[in-house]
Symmetry: C2
Subunit: 324 residues, 2 copies
């Protein structure tokens, strides 16, 4: 690991250890919020301290009463420029919270606003273990191992080092399926996604950032458990669904959704984490690492639909083009 990364993580973990944490907040917007979602899930399951996740502006205006010097606020913005997230960091810091922010850019407003900054690598040369998800998981398991040490957390930190190989193999293994998806679904105007537990964020990110933002395809990330309490009535033979079947504790929810949905829709695409090649990730930790792999696999699905549609993922009509 790069020296500055080691130092950034050590300082942030030390700051958390120094207070008696009453609550962890994960705060970001859009894809960055979705990125933090598995961390929220892991904290909920592993530690006897409350955690919550909010979109940055909701967090500021909601102004939770508990926010103060015994809370930790973990934020993320790729550019470090997202105004709501910068304001959320300033707001939390004014309230006395320990603020830890992730960004690709060190010299960014977000990393200036937060007390502790963690930079992550990005681009073709970047290793997964020091990219956004890798660095986040280093922080998550680093905090857990500092507050309530377990050999499992130490092993999780080692697993992060193996992420690049896992990503590469699964990308390669699912290339054919992704291309088939792109060809078959390129004319769809609406595609629903489904997921639960640590995998809900991946569904949310695919819906909001890939389908709606980058491909202009209508969507809704439906929670697998909620599907049966309203949304499933929309199911019909020609309505497309992408179902993420996780590896974790909530997998039975995804299995139930899949079993029902495939009876009535002829357009069900399954991203099944059980079929992922997870060598290099310890068996008892695969549920937690699966969302990262699902994200990489789904990104490839988006790449292929983009290619078949002739609609580059970089095209925008509003974002970055005007004031909003």
């Amino acid at each position: 690991m790069k020296k500055e990364h080691v130092k950034q993580l050590e300082e942030a973990i030390k700051a958390v250890k120094e207070i008696d944490v009453k609550k962890f907040y994960f705060v970001a917007c859009g894809g960055s919020m979705a990125l933090l979602q598995p961390a929220h899930y892991i904290f909920d399951r592993e530690i006897d301290i409350s955690a919550a996740i909010y979109s940055s502006n909701e967090f500021i205006h909601r102004n939770p009463k508990i926010l103060g010097k015994d809370t930790v606020v973990i934020l993320c913005s790729h550019s470090g420029n997202t105004p709501e997230t910068v304001r959320a960091a300033e707001f939390a810091r004014e309230k006395g919270a320990v603020t830890i922010a992730f960004s690709n850019l060190e010299e960014s407003p977000l990393l200036k606003a937060a007390e502790y900054g963690i930079t992550y690598d990005y681009g073709k040369e970047a290793l997964a273990s020091e990219s956004n998800n890798g660095m986040l998981y280093r922080l998550v398991f680093g905090i857990l191992n500092s507050l309530a040490p377990k050999e499992k957390y130490a092993r999780a930190l080692k697993c992060v080092d193996n992420l690049q190989g896992v990503y590469d193999r699964n990308k390669s293994n699912t290339k054919g399926a992704a291309s088939e998806f792109g060809k078959k679904y390129k004319r769809e105007k609406l595609v629903y996604t489904l997921g639960s537990g640590a995998y809900y964020g991946v569904a949310y990110s695919f819906t909001s950032c890939l389908l709606m933002e980058m491909l202009w395809i209508n969507s809704n990330a439906i929670h697998s458990g909620e599907y049966f309490h309203g949304p499933f009535e929309i199911t019909d033979y020609d309505v497309p669904f992408i179902i993420i079947k996780g590896l974790g504790e909530t997998r039975p929810l995804d299995e139930r959704t899949h079993a029902f949905c495939q009876k009535f829709s002829e357009k069900v695409v399954v991203i099944d984490a059980e079929t992922f090649d997870m060598e290099g990730i310890d068996k008892d930790l695969r549920g937690y690492f699966g969302p990262l792999v699902a994200g990489v696999v789904l990104r490839q699905y988006a790449d292929h639909i983009s290619e078949h549609k002739g609609h580059p993922l970089s095209v925008r009509r509003y974002m970055w083009k005007m004031e909003y």
Copy 2:
């Protein structure tokens, strides 16, 4: 208030007071989960104790580590028969949590599973103050007033008594707009909803239960703050949006969304809580009571689209018709 209602509330509030509450959980499915959402918001803002909301099956399988004898789990199911919510009550109770469940039916599995049951009235004869939202708000402000007494909470409890009049006047005031909506939008295949803060649950409920479940219209309840971080790229002149502009602290998020959305879509419908007749609700509490009124108003919008479409809200193709 009916004697049994007074007694049910008193017993539940007393049970909460007797423990040192570490966390409140709101647990239900679909429309019942959405109903609990403003309560989560109010707790976040008013009290120095964590609160979280989960769909019943997510809650069980996620199995939060903090769940135990110093937690309170508040559940809801209209029929008291929702299997996931009944199991969630049993699960929480086995863990030692204080369980409080709302249902229309006293002799229901849910009210048998939970330690404390609160029945609410339903139907044309039922008064709003003793229906689902009214009874929930009595519990919420009752708990707050018991744990951290404030004259504001005592006033809130009095405002609940005035809900029926507020509902009736606002239903009457918005009948014309609802009918116009039904006529104009009856052929739409997709309608997005937007909301934030205490009003997000209303958007979620309208999307999941009214549009998708009852009307078979595609939808997604987009958080007003999240709209700008992906979903807004789907905005076009012919894409319909229902924007709920709340009265509370998060209203600026809704205003920003409205300002942008109306520039690029010619099909923007606004449910503006500022236009509601809130006489009978104290001014400083209108932000909290607004979601209940927005729900009543939107229900009327659904009634009218149903009528113009010739698709009764009672029609289902899967729900209650098969095993799932």
